[in-house]
Amino acid sequence: MGVVSVFSLSRTIAGLALGALVLSGCGSSLGESDTAEPGGGRSGGDVKIGLLVPLSGVYAPVGEDMKAGFELYLDQHDGKLGGHDVDLVTADEGEGPQTGVPAAQKLVTQDQVTAVAGVVNSATALGLRDFFHESKKPLLIANAGADAITGARKSDYVWRTSFSNGGVSGALGPAVAEEAKGSVYLMAADYAAGKEMVAGFRKSFEAAGGKVAGEKYTPFGKTQDFQPYLSAIRKSGADAVFAFYAGAEAVNFVKQYKQFGLADKTPLYGTGFLTEGGVLAAQGKAAAGVKTSLHYSTELKSARNKEFVDAYRQKSGKPPTAYAVQAYDAAAVLDKALAKASGDSGEDLVKALGGVGSIDSPRGAWKFDADHNPQQQFYLREVRADEGPAVNAVVRELD
């Protein structure tokens, strides 16, 4: 009898899970029905925008920040972009192109959105390039950093509000060459972004007279224990380390860097993703003293940023991240472009995107360069954890 009841319990659980699945699947289609009503009587008419961010998988924390950032901009502007009421359709990018590409195609072909913003994964961004190029729909990349997106594979229809990998790490090179007393060891996760980060850093670092002690790539997403690599750093006699990791690997790397006693003798540098958002919260005091380069920090002193940080905290209960700012700015860019656009076709919008000019962002004003990549200020940040939660204090602007 007990067996029977347990068995039916398992069926109930399965039923619940199935129900939840069906419900979550409905989420996006519910959004669609809102726009079925005729747009007559409204001044600007509705505009449908697709937000493609990871809501599941390893990048989900990044996706949540981006969603909150984009929605914050809408909240602050009465749900309007460029005078149009926005119908925001969110889709789950997942972990890679196998989920991200179909989700984006659904947004464009089925939901008929005017533009898509988001995209965390670079492989997904590059995989989407041809689709958006050919269907003549604007794609605003609000995170993916692959250099090629606004380089070798650039398109009139692809614009980026975040950063390029080589740009972020390249900004740090001269600063480390100046500060480090001897040679520097380079370390990154073994995938495209890691290679680009290291290459960008190495180029500007060596140009500024820096010396490289060694270079190592660790298996991406599979390394939990960095001890063997940390020993190799020690053996190399390097005086400083440059590292690129994100997410769980960043947490483990920075904590173990401290636990194995390297943090006290060998300063750790990296791109900002090493100590950003939830990652920094998990590292806590272990991250104290880590210096990174990024285009944003919650600690920027401008009034624009203070107001943004307060509003974001109020909305989501935690401090904002660079990811949130990138999506917030994507909304700001769309706001300007939609206001300027002469029609609602992709061509019209892209023409307007070229003329949005300077964006008044929490990270500081920036504008698109000729390749549709942000021309922006990078900051040297240092983790301080003396009082309260750890933060990325701004040391100075990087040139």
Binding site: V3, F7, V58, Q227, Y229, S231, G247, K255, F260, A282
Partner: protein, 290 residues
């Protein structure tokens, strides 16, 4: 040379954790032929118990409390899983059932704790490092090695030397015969399932300061535990110990010596064992059939 010795030490720490985690998986497989794919989820439950109770560096008392709480949670989950799998007749159904449970548990944990990466601080008195062979080494990992040794000895005496142990070994070897002798094998099975799951959850707490807690960690741990079980031999305590120590060393020392092959050394080791000893290095003694 000292560098490699520190790697050996580190491999022992990982091996200790893997032993705690893989033991339950191995015994349950050996006894009931149940491939419990929810084992990693049970581990993750333990890790999140630690996140809830000691995330920001608590004292020793709170850490011990977390270990006990995880053990209870693990045992309850294990008992539940045992009941579920016993009510399901076929192997494939059981595997699917435990996989389903793993997915549901993982999703519930994500709902409760979010998708962020959590780290767990080692208890305050052992949070620092000591100098071992000229390199700083975290004290906590030395304690984990100590725990592994104590666990191995305790399990050895329990399984090899006690009446309860002989019952467990007999049930692994020939369940029908033990039942014919008038023993309620069902109770033995549920007990072992619960104890094994409790150990996995405790492993989740103890591994917390090293591996943290995040969605998806359950799959990585499950995969490693499966490799340990395959290498050691199904249903064998000594096999699980040998497999865990071996995999710990392959991971630590292998990465230090052959960094470019780091990501698949573990699986190369498994493939090698499967080629040479298909039943594992130390399979359970099947005295009845011998």
């Amino acid at each position: 040379m000292a560098t490699y010795l520190v790697s050996v030490l580190n491999g022992l720490a990982m091996g200790s954790l893997l032993f705690a985690i893989a033991l339950g998986l191995s015994l349950v497989f050996g006894m009931m032929d149940v491939l419990n794919l929810a084992h990693g989820a049970v581990y993750l439950v333990g890790a999140y118990v630690a996140v809830a109770l000691v995330a920001d560096g608590a004292g020793v008392a709170a850490f011990v409390l977390a270990v006990l709480a995880a053990a209870v949670a693990g045992a309850v989950l294990g008992g539940l899983l045992a009941a579920l799998t016993r009510a399901t007749a076929h192997h494939l159904d059981q595997a699917l059932l435990t996989l389903g449970v793993a997915l549901v548990v993982g999703e519930v944990l994500t709902l409760a704790f979010g998708t962020d990466v959590h780290s767990i601080a080692a208890p305050e008195p052992v949070g620092g490092g000591v100098t071992v062979l000229g390199e700083t080494y975290p004290v906590y990992r030395l304690l984990v090695i100590g725990f592994g040794i104590v666990l191995a000895v305790a399990v050895y005496f329990l399984v090899e030397r006690s009446p309860l142990g002989s019952l467990i070994r007999a049930t692994v070897a020939d369940r029908a015969m033990v039942a014919a002798l008038g023993v309620n094998t069902g109770r033995v099975l549920v007990g072992v399932f619960a104890a094994g799951a409790a150990l996995a959850a405790v492993g989740g707490v103890l591994a917390g300061p090293i591996l943290g807690a995040q969605p998806g960690l359950d799959e990585k741990v499950l995969l490693l535990a499966l490799v340990v079980v395959v290498i050691g031999g199904l249903g064998s305590v000594r096999g699980a110990l040998l497999g865990a120590v071996l995999i710990g060393q392959v991971q630590a020392l292998g990465t230090a010596l052959l960094p470019q092959y780091a990501s698949f050394l573990v699986f190369a080791a498994m493939a090698l064992v499967l080629l040479l000893r298909p039943t594992g290095l130390l399979p359970a003694r099947t005295a009845v059939h011998a």
